[in-house]
């Protein structure tokens, strides 16, 4: 809770800093605030997890680990933001403030124990992003992204709310323990309202995590938003949504899995194929990453499909691997777009020669996304496939393996462009700024560390 309060106050402090035009202080203050919040989260680790504030929030190891991941990712992304926002407009303080508020929402979503908090958390997280997606006000794509995200977000929230209402109608409570008690107490006489509620919650959450067939907003929104905001959306928001998804289905709906397993199975298969095949078709790196993020949502849903003791750690490891690689991928794109003016694959030609460090870290990120051994992505995929294996979803595994191979193909394409194609005439090599170097090296080291010694993360749960 202390972390949430810290972040709320940090947002307001940032607004005041903006008011007094102390622009130099913005980034350091934000980072210090994030560190303090991180400290509070780590301090809570040893404490006994009980629902607080009339059962509204619970800070168990699940919530804390996902919150720590969200805070660290935000810190990494904000490190890249130096000189990024000031190129867009003069109101930088508000951007930092909105990101921090959005992070507050993500922490609430990670730790909810009552649907009221889930709803408010998701809304805080998304409302800030509707605006951030549209901060390039003169850019039509940015406007489109913002509007589309807003309309689809409002629509999916409608599904979520209706689901919550139906569940309340069946059980008379918003509290997760109460709902769980209802499922346990009445195994035979579960109200049809409850089933309809599960369906609506499933649809609402699939919208939020961007799983097909509810994914159609993802490519346009990710493509149109400023790259830094896309990075935030595709990492922190996705991680938090998955935490909410897993908590709800693991804690409350697990006993009713006969009902929702076929639906989720269909969603996963469609997501994998739509995501991977569309990603294969793209010529733009940004759009490719957007579709690949849809595909990764499909892999992460494996953990929810086959709930078990390893679900939480599996989804966490996968989220770490995917987020770190995404940060590097989008970070590289920021640099390439800035200096070469294009986000097509061709713009990456010759990077291997002109910027060896950049090329190596990006290669590592792509290999991790593809799931090559010795990277974190491999461990994530391995854990996901093992959980699905335990439930004997053999067909699903075969389809997923086919998809993983398609994935390798389009991730390797970037590497081919960087190392085996020479740059066009007239492109000047650029120097990597120090903050980018720092973030990329940290992400690369973490990717390798998790890949070689995954026990450090799995042991957390």
């Amino acid at each position: 809770m202390a972390a949430i309060i810290t972040l709320s106050l940090l947002g307001i402090v940032l607004l005041y800093i903006g008011l007094y035009k102390a622009k130099k202080a913005l980034l350091p203050t934000t980072l210090i605030g994030l560190l303090v919040a991180l400290g509070f989260e780590i301090c809570d680790w040893g404490k006994e997890a009980v629902p607080l504030f009339h059962g509204m929030v619970i800070f168990d190891h699940f919530a804390l680990s996902f919150s720590i991941l969200c805070i660290l990712l935000t810190a990494l992304i904000l490190l890249l933001s130096k000189a990024y926002f000031s190129a867009i407009s003069t109101n930088i303080a508000e951007y930092y403030c909105l990101i921090v508020f959005s992070l507050t929402g993500a922490l609430l979503v990670n730790a909810y124990h009552n649907f009221a908090i889930l709803f408010i958390g998701i809304e805080i997280m998304s409302v800030a992003l509707y605006i951030l997606a549209g901060i390039r006000r003169k850019d039509l794509y940015s406007n489109e992204a913002s509007l589309k995200y807003f309309i689809m977000g409002a629509f999916s929230t409608g599904f979520l709310l209706f689901g919550i209402t139906l569940l309340y109608g069946a059980t008379g409570t918003f509290d997760l323990s109460g709902l769980r008690q209802y499922v346990v107490d009445t195994p035979q006489g579960i109200s049809p309202l409850f089933y309809a509620g599960i369906l609506f919650m499933l649809v609402g959450l699939c919208f939020k995590v961007g799983a097909a067939p509810f994914h159609f907003w993802v490519p346009d929104v990710y493509d149109g938003s400023p790259i830094l905001i896309t990075t935030y959306m595709s990492t922190v928001v996705k991680v938090a949504s998955f935490a909410a998804f897993l908590r709800l289905f693991d804690y409350v709906f697990a006993a009713l899995n006969d009902f929702w397993t076929p639906i989720l199975l269909a969603v996963i298969v469609i997501t994998l194929f739509v995501g991977n095949i569309s990603a294969l078709m793209q010529t733009s790196f940004k759009r490719m990453l957007a579709y690949s993020s849809v595909a990764h949502a499909g892999y992460m849903l494996f953990a929810i499909l086959s709930l078990g003791a390893n679900s939480a750690s599996g989804i966490f490891v996968y989220a770490v691997a995917y987020s770190l690689s995404s940060v590097v991928g989008f970070g590289t794109l920021i640099l390439v777009k800035k200096y070469n003016g294009s986000d097509q694959f061709i713009a990456f030609n010759g990077l291997g020669k002109s910027n060896p460090l950049l090329a190596v870290t990006l290669t590592l990120a792509m290999l991790s996304l593809a799931g090559i051994p010795l990277t974190a992505g491999f461990i994530g995929k391995f854990m996901m496939f093992t959980t699905a294996m335990n439930d004997y979803h053999i067909t699903l595994l075969l389809l997923a393996a086919v998809n993983a191979i398609i994935g390798v193909f389009y991730y390797l394409r970037v590497i081919v462009h960087m190392y085996f194609k020479s740059a066009e005439e007239g492109t000047t090599p650029f120097v990597m700024p120090l903050n980018f170097k720092m973030v990329f090296v940290i992400a690369a080291i973490l990717t390798l560390a998790v890949g070689i010694y995954p026990q450090c993360l799995i042991g957390l749960f």
């Binding site: 009339h54 509204m56 403030c97 408010i120 549209g134 109200s191 309809a196």
Partner: protein, 165 residues
């Protein structure tokens, strides 16, 4: 009970009118009437707070906003995007499936269920306040962050940039 059926009939009638009128301004006006019938429903259910909020926020603020936007947009037949029949048919089928799901869930519900008949004083402002400031205090406080975010964002998007001026 007769009042209920009469008001329910009016709600459905005006809701259908909202969809079927060609003129967007008329459509919005029918929507206002639909919301007004909802307000009557809330009063019949003894839910004062919901009735007042519905009346002020939905009927007042949001509908006026709708009307303004419509008048500014200058909608007519030329600017209206044509939808293909396929999309219409798909939309109808999907909508009907949704109705079937929800009605199926609602049909079997037992009307003597405690949550349905419920406590008739539940919607009174006094009881609502007691719950809001006791059990639901944390979400109530947190919604302030939501409102602040929305305010900051609205100003950020609407304010003129100095560079451009």
């Amino acid at each position: 009970m007769t009042i209920f059926y009469f008001v329910a009939f009016l709600s459905i009638f005006f809701a259908l009118m909202t969809i079927f009128t060609k003129n967007p301004v008329h459509s919005v006006l029918y929507l206002v009437i639909t919301f007004f019938t909802f307000t009557i429903h809330y009063i019949l259910l003894n839910a004062q707070f919901l009735a007042v909020v519905n009346f002020i926020v939905y009927m007042g603020a949001i509908m006026v906003l709708f009307l303004f936007v419509l008048m500014l947009l200058n909608l007519n037949k030329d600017t209206e995007p044509m939808k293909s029949n396929l999309v219409k048919i798909m939309g109808t089928i999907a909508g009907m499936c949704l109705i079937a799901t929800v009605l199926g869930a609602l049909k079997v519900i037992e009307t003597n269920n405690g949550f349905v008949t419920g406590n008739t004083d539940f919607g009174l402002v006094k009881n609502l306040g007691k719950i809001l400031f006791d059990e639901f205090l944390l979400p109530f406080e947190l919604s302030s962050i939501l409102l602040l975010t929305a305010m900051v964002g609205a100003i950020l998007l609407a304010k003129k940039d100095k560079k451009e001026a």
